[in-house]
């Protein structure tokens, strides 16, 4: 099997995230960049699939120069090669442009599966995998909490609002995973050393057959008009239970008209 895994570099999960004055883009410089957490689960799932069925895993990431660290991290977990789309024109891309770039980067390369995380921790849109499926015309099997591959078909358990659905499709297919699916491995020392020698293809927007004018802030089909920090919440009251903690909460709830 040949599997592509799309990974996004995002600000460290715990870092305070801010939009920049001026262009209203996420300030990515002020925090350490890490691999989007759910994308680690996507990498793990791909590695488990090729361990069971044979094949190779190619990491795909669109992002500035330093997103190369995130590609390298995925390689150190065990993926075989990387494609890193870097281009100044990409800054400020909306989900529409991002999905166009990813679709072009994986198209025509004989992938059986393209695996995504189901959501990024920064923009949290949960749309890119579905958009890529739409663009490629491939089956969409997303929000998977379980994946099985057999005889050219993929079957997943899709987490839904009201339980789960079993969804089946013939490959090629676009997959996204939720965190219940597996436990991502840590890169081993050997893995980290090996990753240094693995091939990463660094490409620009033009290499994908897309116009620079089709991506980035200028091409975005939605725009931020203005933004503001939410006024910090007034500090609450914290009391220590002295045998009447429950009664005190009840009094608070009554004051707030909840009871």
């Amino acid at each position: 099997m040949k599997i592509a895994v799309c990974v996004k570099q995002v600000p460290d999960t715990w870092a305070e995230k801010k939009l920049r004055e001026g262009d209203a883009l996420l300030d990515r410089e002020s925090a350490d960049g890490v691999m989007n957490e759910l994308d680690e689960y996507a990498v793990e799932e791909a590695l488990q699939l090729i361990e069971a069925h044979g094949g190779e895993v190619v990491i795909v990431s669109m992002g500035p120069d330093r997103a190369a660290e995130t590609v390298r991290k995925a390689l150190s977990m065990g993926a075989d090669a990387g494609i890193h789309v870097v281009d100044d024109s990409l800054a400020g891309s909306d989900a529409i442009a991002t999905s166009a770039v990813i679709a072009k980067a994986v198209e025509g390369k004989d992938f059986d599966l393209v695996i995504f995380g189901s959501e990024s921790t920064d923009a949290r849109m949960s749309v890119v995998p579905a958009m890529v499926a739409e663009r490629l015309g491939w089956a969409q099997v997303t929000f998977a909490q379980k994946v099985e591959v057999a005889g050219g078909d993929i079957t997943i358990e899709r987490a839904t609002e009201n339980g789960s659905d079993t969804v089946t499709a013939a490959m090629p297919a676009v997959v996204s995973v939720v965190e219940k699916i597996n436990e991502p491995r840590y890169p081993s020392f050997k893995g980290i050393m090996a990753a240094k020698k693995k091939p990463v293809d660094t490409i620009a927007v033009a290499d994908l057959g897309l116009e620079a004018a089709a991506v980035g802030t200028g091409a975005a089909w939605s725009a931020v008009n203005d933004f503001a920090a939410r006024p910090p919440k007034a500090a609450g009251t914290v009391v220590t239970d002295e045998g009447d903690g429950g009664v005190k909460v009840a009094t608070f709830l009554a004051e707030q008209k909840f009871i």
Binding site: A123, R124, G163, E179, D226, V238, D241, G246
Partner: protein, 321 residues
């Protein structure tokens, strides 16, 4: 006035509350037109849509549409966008809703905004309000190309009735081959309780690792029932099997935004906060005064939940008699 298409969210034929919220929001932008995808629309469902102001109900009722995930709803909406050139398309911010909106945006060549907490007309443009980065930043944004496609977060807009008498319009859609590539072959229903739906509830009472066991959730449920609340859980509790997964609150669980959220034995990891931070009032019970969840608390008690919570439940019982 142009129509505003609202994708109906339904469970087993019953219209979900989020749809009544979207219809309410749509009225500020144009004439709400509900779009029902799949078989099983009932008179009761139409009555609900009508009560909240739908002037039209488009019904794409073919069985086939329910057999494949996401893509069919996007194709129904795309066809309607082509036919009626709506002022906007509003979709619930559920996993299905966002993915449907994403595919629709690519199909019709429109910009998309997800997780709006409000929408408003400003001259001839539509402004969406988003609450991003765990609620720390408020953003106003606009779709600048095509028909605005906006997903709206549950519990963000208060539903208000505005009875209309809708005209039913049946719609036939020939699904593309691509839309039929993934097939739903089975469904496991979540266990249903008598409690309100987690994402719709005005009050949510949650338990975490501090609850200690499945039996421990008895005290959480008792408090929830005294308040007519839904029960939520942290991932630590769902992973341990103490409470079913579909009640997980957080980044990879449900996003809730109730009037009141009571967190018991939950430390306040960033992934948990991501799903509850925008709750209007937050009450915390935790025995560790250093637990980060106290940073969010409007009212917090440092104490053992097994003494504080039952006492609270009892006190609520007394006060409501």
């Amino acid at each position: 006035m142009a129509e505003v298409l609202v994708l109906v969210d339904q469970v087993d034929g019953a219209v979900r509350k989020s749809t009544t919220e979207l219809l309410t929001a749509a009225r500020a932008l144009g004439e709400p037109a509900a779009v029902w995808v799949g078989p099983g629309i009932s008179d009761a469902a139409i009555a609900t849509l009508c009560e909240f102001g739908a002037v039209k109900v488009y019904v794409a009722g073919d069985d086939e549409l329910a057999k494949h995930p996401v893509a069919p709803a996007a194709e129904v909406l795309a066809q309607l966008v082509g036919e009626v050139t709506p002022a906007a398309v509003l979709v619930p911010s559920t996993a299905d809703g966002k993915e449907t909106a994403g595919r629709l945006a690519v199909k019709v060549g429109s910009g998309i905004i997800t997780d709006a907490v409000a929408v408003a007309a400003d001259g001839d443009r539509i402004v969406a309000t988003q609450s991003v980065f765990g609620g720390s930043t408020i953003v106003h944004s606009t779709v600048t190309h095509g028909v605005p496609i906006i997903t709206v977060r549950g519990n963000a807009v208060a539903p208000e009735a505005a009875p209309a008498s809708p005209a039913r319009v049946d719609v036939t859609v020939a699904l593309s081959d691509a839309a039929k590539k993934a097939t739903i072959t089975g469904h496991t229903a979540a266990v249903k309780g008598g409690r309100p739906q987690l994402t719709e509830a005005q009050v949510v009472v949650s338990g975490g690792r501090g609850v200690g066991s499945a039996d421990g959730f008895g005290v959480i449920e008792a408090l929830a029932d005294s308040l007519g609340a839904a029960v939520g859980a942290s991932r630590a509790a769902t992973d341990a099997g103490w409470y079913p997964h579909q009640f997980q609150v957080g980044q990879t669980g449900k996003t809730v935004s109730p009037q009141l959220y009571i967190a018991n034995g939950i430390s306040g990891a960033i992934q948990h906060r991501a799903g509850m931070q925008t709750s209007k009032t937050i009450v915390v019970v935790n025995k560790d005064p250093e637990a980060p969840i106290f940073e969010l608390a409007d009212y917090g008690v440092v104490g053992d939940l097994f003494t504080v919570v039952p006492q609270l439940t009892e006190e609520i019982g007394k006060r409501s008699n």
